[in-house]
């Protein structure tokens, strides 16, 4: 196993900047995830580490050695691709065993060791009954697990996994995610992982890098990414239903500071939060503005007015979530989503809404949020 260090990497294609001065360090034995929407540059980053692509600027180090000039086969990394890339003329067994039969591995592994490793990996991923089949007779989810098994069968310095479980159905994804995490812990392996799924990123990683249009937005632990997001962008990436982001005017009078997003939608800000608010606010057309972030579970709703912090809105729609409900309200630019354990509210009914201010975030505006 080895650590990976990426130093000031820039990747340009003609006019397009895919990655812009990206730096990070994945320590030996760490599970390090690149999280971001499609087009953020996540796969390009993996390809640069694997040596499939060359950086325009910057350096990649594996185990302390600068590898920019090394071809992929000399980097001792294993990569699983989102599009499987299985050999259709080989059986599932031979596909998984393939990396163990490369010229470099010659003489290092006996055929009984090979059988044992392939079986072990196939069993862990629940594909042990498919070993004799050809890839073209497998479902997408099965192919993806074969691809993952083929990557994990070898013991390279670093594993590079690109959306390796994205095509599994929800239940299989949850169990394979757990298998992957146990595997990573048991062998203490170094993994750089790419996903657009925030649950995978939070559940699996020691550290997460949020990538946004080729630029590092935040590098942190899963807990901090979720509880202390550095920007509105990071906050919106983690959570389902996603965090509510609402822009409004900051108004002050002798009674304190108020947040106002619409005539019916304004409330006083708790005095201990005004400092945080001030640090985030911006000026727009001579008005002081701020973007509030609040998660759907941190909002209370009721038929009675709870306090003078509450405001009222008509219900737009109710959607269910297991035994809970998500009540949606329509604001001018956005929807407000509230998670509650009651579903006895009618469309159009006016409800009182109150934010748990201790759970509120204040952000600068770095992205468009209109519905």
């Amino acid at each position: 196993m080895a650590d990976v260090k990426v130093e000031n990497i820039t990747k340009r294609y003609d006019d397009l900047v895919a990655l812009n001065k990206v730096s990070f360090e994945c320590k030996e034995g760490q599970f390090f995830t690149l999280l971001g929407p499609s087009g953020a540059g996540k796969t390009t980053m993996l390809e640069l580490i694997a040596g499939i692509k060359e950086p325009t600027e910057g350096h990649v180090y594996i185990g302390g050695q600068m590898v920019n000039k090394l071809p992929p086969q000399e980097r001792n990394v294993a990569m699983a691709f989102e599009n499987y890339a299985l050999y259709s003329f080989l059986s599932v067994y031979d596909n998984i065993a393939f990396p163990l039969r490369s010229p470099k591995m010659k003489g290092l592994i006996t055929s009984s060791e090979e059988r044992q490793r392939v079986q072990e990996m196939a069993t862990l991923l629940g594909i042990e009954k498919l070993l004799d089949r050809r890839p073209q007779h497998l479902s997408g989810g099965q192919k993806q697990r074969v691809s993952l098994a083929r990557t994990m069968v070898r013991r390279p310095d670093v594993y590079l996994l690109d959306e390796p479980i994205a095509h599994l159905d929800a239940k299989l994804r949850t169990s394979t995610r757990a298998t992957l995490k146990e595997l990573a812990k048991e062998f203490g392996i170094t993994i750089i992982y790419v996903t657009h799924n925030y649950r995978e990123a939070l559940a699996l990683s020691d550290h997460i890098l949020i990538l946004r249009e080729g630029i590092v937005e935040q590098i942190d632990t899963p807990e901090n990414i979720y509880h202390v997001p550095a920007s509105d962008f990071t906050a919106k990436l983690t959570g389902d239903p996603p965090i509510n982001l609402i822009d409004g005017e900051v108004l002050g009078n002798s009674k304190g500071v108020f947040f106002s997003a619409a005539p019916h939608f304004s409330f006083p800000i708790a005095s201990e939060l005004t400092e945080k608010l001030k640090n985030a606010q911006w000026e727009e057309n001579d008005r002081r503005m701020v973007r509030i972030g609040i998660r759907p579970q941190d909002i209370k709703i009721s038929r009675e007015r709870i306090s003078d912090m509450a405001f009222d809105l008509p219900v737009y729609a109710t959607i269910r979530e297991g035994e809970n409900s998500v009540i949606t309200f329509e604001l001018k630019d956005v929807f407000l989503l509230v998670r509650t354990d009651s579903d006895h509210y009618k469309v159009g009914e006016k409800l009182w809404i109150q934010f748990d201010q201790q759970c509120m975030f204040f952000f600068r505006k770095t992205m468009d949020i209109s519905k």
Binding site: G239, D240, K371
Partner: protein, 363 residues
Amino acid sequence: MSSVEFRNVWKIYDGDVVAVKDASFRCEDREFVAILGPSGCGKSSSLRMIAGLEQVSRGDILFDDQIVNDLSSRERNIALAFESYALYSPLTIYGNLAYPLRVMGMNKREIKNKVTAIARAFELEEVLDRKPSHLSGGQKQRVSLARALIRDPNVFLLDEPLSHMDQALRSTLRARIRHIHDELEATTIYVTHDQEEAVALADRMIVMNMGTIQQVGMVNEIYQYPANQFVAGFVGDPEMNFLEGTLESDHRVAIHGDEGQVSWTTRRVTGASAGSHVLVGVRPEKILISLEPVESALKTTVQLIEFVGDYKLITFRIAGRNLKALTPIAFNTEEKTSIWISADTDRIYLFEKESGEALIMKE
């Protein structure tokens, strides 16, 4: 809009492939019903038969109590929206919305009124002059739904319309679809493999597996009283946990743990006698975890903790099965520590081991 009814409907392909087997259900006027099941369960064949894209092999389909078996798709007046938007790229959004009305031979003035009204409902007024390629995914989806609805159809059929949307967009689009259904007082049938989607939107669900209807009921009823082990496992995420057990009486079950048996009190059991082998089900969000020994609790070890944002997912093993529990973030435990597992009486489900049929009946 109309009611939709299946009376003993079969769909058999090539003489012997049974896609839908003796299906009967009724979807009332203005109801929102989801047909839910894994791939190959028969839901898409059912949808295609409702739409008139596929002939019924046996049985009858009725709209407002009239048999429609021999009516064409157009005569049935169905609005169908797919997962792919299927918008006409050379036409503007206005042109796309107007298209079904032009086909019907409606005059220009009427078309304009209708397009304006539906564009307002779907908040598309500002993009009417644009081409589809200049729209976001969410906007395209709205155009596709609006176009399906513009003809005042009898039934609104949706085939996995949200499955490729990104997470953030999906929750607002769900709200929109539900709002539009309520607003238009539409009869909506929504076909999906995604239980989360069905639970989110529908009033009632029809759960299918291998061509057969497993259960029809209100969403919360199916959640609380699954008819069999398949439904119990399919509806809910993460999946319900199952343990092996033996009935001791009509309200007690012995669970086989790693360190001997424990006995749990259950609701009243019907249709099985003491000594029967059963599967004991508990949903991950209903598992009670104690960090100290508790009477009648199963001892196990925390194998894995996954932080997934608004909750933690704990994995542990009992009698060779991987089980999961959902806990609040504040719940503090570490991997490899001992925990004791139990569940409240009314949160324990029992299933007959061989057939998978539920043994706890609705009170």
